[in-house]
Amino acid sequence: MHDITIQTEAFDIEAVQRELRADPAVGAVVSFIGQMRDINEGDRVSTMTLEHYPGMTEKALERIVEEARQRWDLLGVRVIHRVGPLTPLDPIVLVAVASGHRGEAFQACEFIIDYLKSRAPFWKKERTAGGDRWVDARHGDSEAEARWKR
C-alpha cells in the first residue's frame, strides 16, 4: 500500500480505514478529512480548483510522512490529496494514521496535516460571485507548523 496519493477523484475513507485496521497490532486509527467549504473570507464560494507541483508534491509529502514515522511508532499512514475542480462538501484531503495506542496516532495525524498545509506545494483558486481569486496562505497555518519544532 502506498502511503501517498494525489488524485482528482474522491476517496473512500472507509476502505482506507479498513486497510489500516487489518493489522491486529493496530489499536488505534485516527483520520482527518479536510473538505471544501462554501464560504471563505465572508464570500460564498461556488467552486474551487486545486493546482499542485507534480513531483515535488509527492516528495514533500513523503518527507513529512517519514518525519512522522521517525517521531512516533506508527503501524500505517495514508495521505490522499485531491487536485482539480472541487465543489462544496467535496473531501479535499485525508490523513489516516494507525498505531498501537491512540496517543501516537492523534499526534502524528495532526503533525502531518499541519506540515502538509505549510510545506506541500498545493494552491487553491476559488470562484465567487465577484470572480476567480487565489486563496491566500493563512498565518495560523505557519503557527500550527511551528509548534511542532523542537
Binding site: Y53, K117, P121, W123
Partner: protein, 83 residues
C-alpha cells in the same frame, strides 16, 4: 539549460508556465531572480520582493543563496494553500 517553472498566481501574472534559461552567468537563485526581474512589467512586479515568492530547486525548497548548475529545475510559486 535551467528549466524554470512558475505556478499558481505567479504563472498567471507572468502569463508563462515555464521556460528554459541559459545558465551562463548565473551562479545562484538570486542571479536568476535578477535576470528575470530586469525583463520589466509583470516580471519586475513579481520579483521586486513586494509579494511573497517561494523557490524550489530540484523540487526541494531553497533560498536565494542556493547555487545553480546546468540542468537544475527551478520553480517559483506563492505560499502554499493545500489541505
Amino acid at each position: 539549460m535551467i528549466e524554470v517553472l512558475y505556478f499558481a498566481r505567479l504563472r498567471e501574472q507572468l502569463d508563462c508556465p515555464g521556460e528554459g534559461i541559459d545558465p551562463a552567468g548565473l551562479q545562484s537563485v538570486a542571479d536568476l531572480i535578477g535576470r528575470l526581474r530586469v525583463r520589466g512589467g509583470a516580471w519586475e512586479e513579481v520579483f521586486a520582493g513586494d509579494q511573497p515568492v517561494l523557490v524550489a530547486v530540484n523540487q526541494e525548497m531553497a533560498d536565494p543563496a542556493r547555487a545553480l548548475r546546468d540542468g537544475d529545475e527551478v520553480a517559483f510559486f506563492p505560499p502554499v494553500t493545500g489541505g
